[in-house]
């Protein structure tokens, strides 16, 4: 498969950029030892070497006539690279100095192979080799996996190279960033600032991982004769960039001091272990020295007290001073950090237990876990009950208030739109209202049953209807099951009969009778 030239150019530039990031870190480290050497020269030489290596590898692959004697052209490239570096090292010198130096080469070969040139060339050569290997592996991405039996998959090789490069870059640029002296100071405060070459390396590396994935999938799809939709590659690139941006945003949002403190805590734990080991060492030493001292006393060789073992260095578990107070930005970052950390931990635990059914079964039979589970279930039951009670009370309250309001307003038009339960309650409240006007108010202390008896005493002819209506009300008010439409119909009839009987009473006179 031929990859379009834009994509190849981007790949070559990315690879060259990543390699030169490592070279730049190396140059900074070297400068700590030899400050007069040029960082720019080393960086540019490796950038050029890496890009040239990728490009020339591709050219040789595309032109079969060059492949037979490829080693010659590659040797020529390396030779040319050396003289280019040598020439670049003269930048800033006058022509006379340059010519004198060149003239001295035959007599003094060290003038040609001076330390800076050789160092820069070695770094450039390593960059050149790394770029060639990477270009080779990138080409392998498009070939069938069974073409190179016994070799690791190209995608695996590339990702591993990215990892190794990342580790080397971290170490080299880290040392170059903080300096050699600070490296030995374990009490120093965390170093701030952005290390740009590290940023570029990991940004480009993550982007290239996406491209490697795309190439791997594309090869697999081609083998399976899968049609790839038009514009697919472009969308892949866009989505990759968006994802990297989001991941970068998350990374920037998260505070780093927790990681530092966490590692400090780990160091503290290591120190405590060290203290324990020291104490054991002291005790064991005493046990050995005491008999020796006693023996020497018996033999009369010495009157001196037994020698104490050399004290161990005291562990440093002191907490470093913390900045007082948090700005709002720090608070936001802290909040995000803990949310994410808790989420990740919870998810990891859940996922782990799910993927290990045996562990889950063992956990289920573990007594403390069972106790905790029962406790949780009991708590959940109580919570559910409390919620249900609260909901019912609220609903009853709402219904009661609304019905009373509706009854007072004398409105009936809403009946058709209400539930059967509410319609039964409405009829009962309506009767209460009518009875109150006729002098039979229901006291606050009266239960429905007690009120039923008091009405029956005043209106014995409606005893049966009142009993039925009260039963229907109690059922609608306190039951959970559905109220039937038949009950609603009967309730209406009973209420009508009671209201008819109530109308025979004088207004406000019944209780007085």
């Amino acid at each position: 498969m031929t990859v379009d030239w834009k994509r190849r150019l981007i790949w070559n530039l990315s690879i060259a950029g990543m390699i030169s990031c490592v070279a730049l870190a190396t140059a900074r480290l070297v400068q700590l030892f030899v400050p007069e050497w040029s960082i720019a020269l080393m960086f540019l030489a490796s950038l050029l070497a890496a890009f040239e290596a990728s490009y020339s590898y591709r050219v040789i692959q595309e032109r079969p006539e060059l492949q037979a004697e490829a080693w010659k052209s590659r040797m020529a490239e390396l030779l040319l690279l050396f003289f280019l570096i040598k020439a670049a090292s003269y930048i800033g010198d006058s022509m006379v100095v340059v010519l004198d130096d060149i003239a001295a080469w035959p007599g003094d070969i060290s003038r040609l192979f001076d330390g800076e040139t050789v160092s820069v060339y070695m770094v450039a050569l390593l960059s050149w080799l790394a770029a060639t290997r990477t270009a080779h592996d990138l080409e392998r991405l498009h070939e069938p996996s069974n073409l190179h039996p016994g070799q690791p998959l190209a995608a695996e090789t590339l990702s591993r190279r990215f990892f190794v490069g990342g580790v080397v870059l971290f170490m080299v640029s880290g040392v170059a960033h903080i300096g050699l002296q600070a490296l030995l100071d374990w009490q120093r405060a965390p170093a701030g600032g952005i290390v740009f070459n590290v940023l570029v390396y990991f940004g480009l590396g993550a982007f290239m991982l996406g491209q490697i994935r795309l190439a791997t999938l594309s090869r697999s799809w081609r083998n399976q004769k899968v049609q790839i939709a038009s514009g697919f590659v472009g969308r892949w690139v866009r989505y990759s960039l968006v994802l990297l941006f989001v991941a970068g945003l998350v990374a920037v949002l998260l505070p780093t001091r927790y990681a530092t403190h966490f590692l400090d805590a780990v160091a503290g734990l290591v120190n405590i272990v060290f203290v324990i080991i020291s104490a054991v060492y002291m005790v064991v030493s005493l046990l050995f020295m005491l008999p020796a001292w006693l023996l020497s006393r018996l033999l009369g060789r010495s009157n001196a007290p037994p020698p104490m073992p050399a004290p161990m260095p005291s562990p440093d578990i002191s907490v470093r001073p913390q900045p007082q107070g948090l700005s709002w930005w720090e608070s936001v970052r802290t909040f995000v950090f803990w949310i994410l950390a808790a989420g990740i931990l919870a998810y990891a635990a859940w996922h782990y237990v799910r993927s290990h059914p045996g562990l889950w079964r063992a956990l289920a039979t573990f007594a403390p876990w069972q106790w905790l589970r029962r406790l949780w279930q009991a708590w959940q039951r109580r919570l559910d009950q409390w919620t249900a009670d609260r909901r019912r009370r609220k609903m009853d309250g709402e219904v009661g208030v609304r019905l009373t309001r509706e009854v007072k307003a004398g409105g009936r038009s809403w009946l058709g739109a209400r539930s059967a339960r509410e319609r039964v309650l409405y009829q009962y409240y309506r009767v209460l209202q009518r009875a109150k006007r006729r002098g039979l108010p229901r006291r606050v202390s009266e239960t429905p049953s007690e009120y039923e008896h008091s009405v029956a005493r005043s209106l014995p002819e409606t005893e049966a209807e009142m009993a039925s209506l009260t039963d229907a009300f109690v059922e609608a008010r306190f039951s959970e099951h559905a109220v039937g439409s038949e009950t609603v119909r009967h309730t209406r009839d009973w209420a009508r009969a009671i209201k008819r009987a109530l109308s025979t009473l004088g207004r406000g006179t019944a209780r007085n009778r």
């Binding site: 695996e156 990702s159 591993r160 990892f163 990342g166 580790v167 971290f170 170490m171 880290g174 040392v175 960033h177 903080i178 490296l183 120093r188 405060a189 965390p190 170093a191 701030g192 600032g193 952005i194 290390v195 590290v198 940023l199 990991f202 993550a206 991982l209 996406g210 490697i212 994935r213 791997t216 999938l217 799809w221 399976q224 004769k225 899968v226 049609q227 790839i228 939709a229 697919f232 969308r235 892949w236 989505y239 990759s240 994802l243 990297l244 989001v246 991941a247 970068g248 998350v250 990374a251 920037v252 998260l254 780093t256 001091r257 990681a259 530092t260 590692l263 780990v266 994410l340 990740i344």
Partner: protein
């Protein structure tokens, strides 16, 4: 991607030793790439759904358009999806339909492909598999599967200019659309309702007492029902061209059923014992004679999916096939081997009051053993060995 966890741990350790804040940010960046990729993939897996639409019955030679609609209900775009539809080789090129694409958030995409119904049969389209994953290969590929769906390709139906069905009905020559075949004043019994039965035949009181639909069976005045007995026993066809012969036998059965039901407008049924791919076992099919077009489609559907069976004796097939037939019905046997036993069975049916006819799917020659048997029994026997022979059935 193997090694990422180790990589992150090593980087964390270096960052801890060097105590550089920015290095922790880089570590977070790598973890965030993994986390966001993982969550993205999970959301897409939950949000993406697939629906397949097609006409699930087709005639031989039809081109069926299959539409696959992929919907992304998630609020995130699906970075990559690979659709893989497995298709039977009889209907499409090997390998099925495959497509790699991406889908925007809250979007849907429809794919269409066509299958060519080259061969009758009962097939399954699918399973349809939709793979998705993250952009960096950090987590395993997620998979969404859609169950296979059946499609029935009816067998070829050839025109029969004149079938020449033998019948004893005096009304056979009458051009009436609904001739009287049953004496409705003489109820013979009831049987279970079958699709295609007229509602007028339902015995409501019996239905009410039993609790399932029952229809009346009347004593026949004279019957013009035709029962096609298709012999699909493997041993009934020659070894050399067994496949071609059985396929031709099925074509003959389908053509006869089609002709009797639509041209002659007479009831037609089918009895056969064959391998049924739908049930994945040998099955005895008994479709009693009915006249409705929808019933003919049932017959054709059975003929579409049957395959030869290992052990399906012809005598048993004829016995079971004729057991519920009305007196005077026509029995048309389609088989691939002419034997003495075959004629004995046919003569027996004839003595039971059925009109009998045989179609032999074999080259037109007779062995000495059966020479004269057909003439002796006065049974019309037709030989079919090429498709155009079917048109000459008369």
């Amino acid at each position: 991607m193997s090694g990422l966890v180790v990589f992150v741990l090593v980087l964390t350790a270096i960052a801890g030793v060097l105590r550089i804040d920015f290095f922790f940010t880089v570590v977070y960046f790598l973890i965030a790439i993994y986390g966001v990729s993982y969550l993205w993939k999970q959301w897409i897996r939950r949000g993406v759904s697939v629906k397949r639409t097609f006409v699930d019955h087709a005639y031989l030679g039809d081109r069926v358009e299959v539409s696959i609609e992929v919907t992304n209900a998630a609020w995130l775009p699906a970075p990559w999806l690979v659709l893989h539809e497995s298709l039977p080789v009889q209907l499409a090129a090997p390998g099925g339909y495959r497509q790699a694409f991406s889908l925007r958030a809250r979007a849907r995409h429809a794919f269409e492909y066509s299958i060519y119904c080259r061969q009758r049969g009962y097939y399954r389209l699918g399973p349809l598999v939709l793979d998705t994953g993250d952009l960096f290969g950090l987590s395993q590929v997620g998979r969404i599967e859609v169950e296979p769906e059946p499609i029935v390709v009816y067998p070829k139906v050839l025109p029969l200019a004149s079938l020449g069905l033998p019948t004893r009905s005096p009304q056979a020559i009458l051009p009436a659309r609904s001739p009287l075949f049953e004496d409705k004043t003489r109820l013979m019994g009831v049987r279970d309702y079958q699709r295609g039965d007229s509602p007028r035949r339902i015995h409501w009181s019996a239905t009410a007492s039993v609790g399932r639909l029952l229809v009346k069976r009347y004593q026949p005045a004279i019957a013009r029902e035709t029962m096609i007995c298709l012999d699909l026993c493997r041993d009934s066809y020659g070894d050399r061209q067994r496949y071609a012969a059985t396929e031709l036998a099925i074509v003959v059965a389908a053509s006869l059923a089609h002709h009797v039901a639509l041209q002659d407008k007479l009831p037609v049924g089918l009895v056969t014992e064959a391998m049924d791919p739908l049930q994945a076992r040998q099955t005895f099919f008994f479709l009693p004679p009915q006249r409705e077009r929808v019933y003919l489609m049932q017959v054709l559907e059975v003929l579409a999916r049957v395959q030869t069976a290992q052990d399906a004796p012809l005598g048993e097939l004829l016995r079971r096939g004729s057991s519920e037939l009305a007196w005077g019905s026509t029995v048309m046997l389609i088989t691939g081997r002419e034997t003495v036993e075959l004629y004995e069975n046919l003569v027996y049916l004839r003595r039971m009051g059925f009109a009998v006819s045989a179609i032999l799917v074999q080259p037109p020659h007779r062995s000495e053993a059966v020479e004269g048997k057909a003439e002796l029994a006065d049974i019309p026997v037709h030989h079919v060995w090429r498709e155009r022979d079917v048109e000459l059935l008369s």
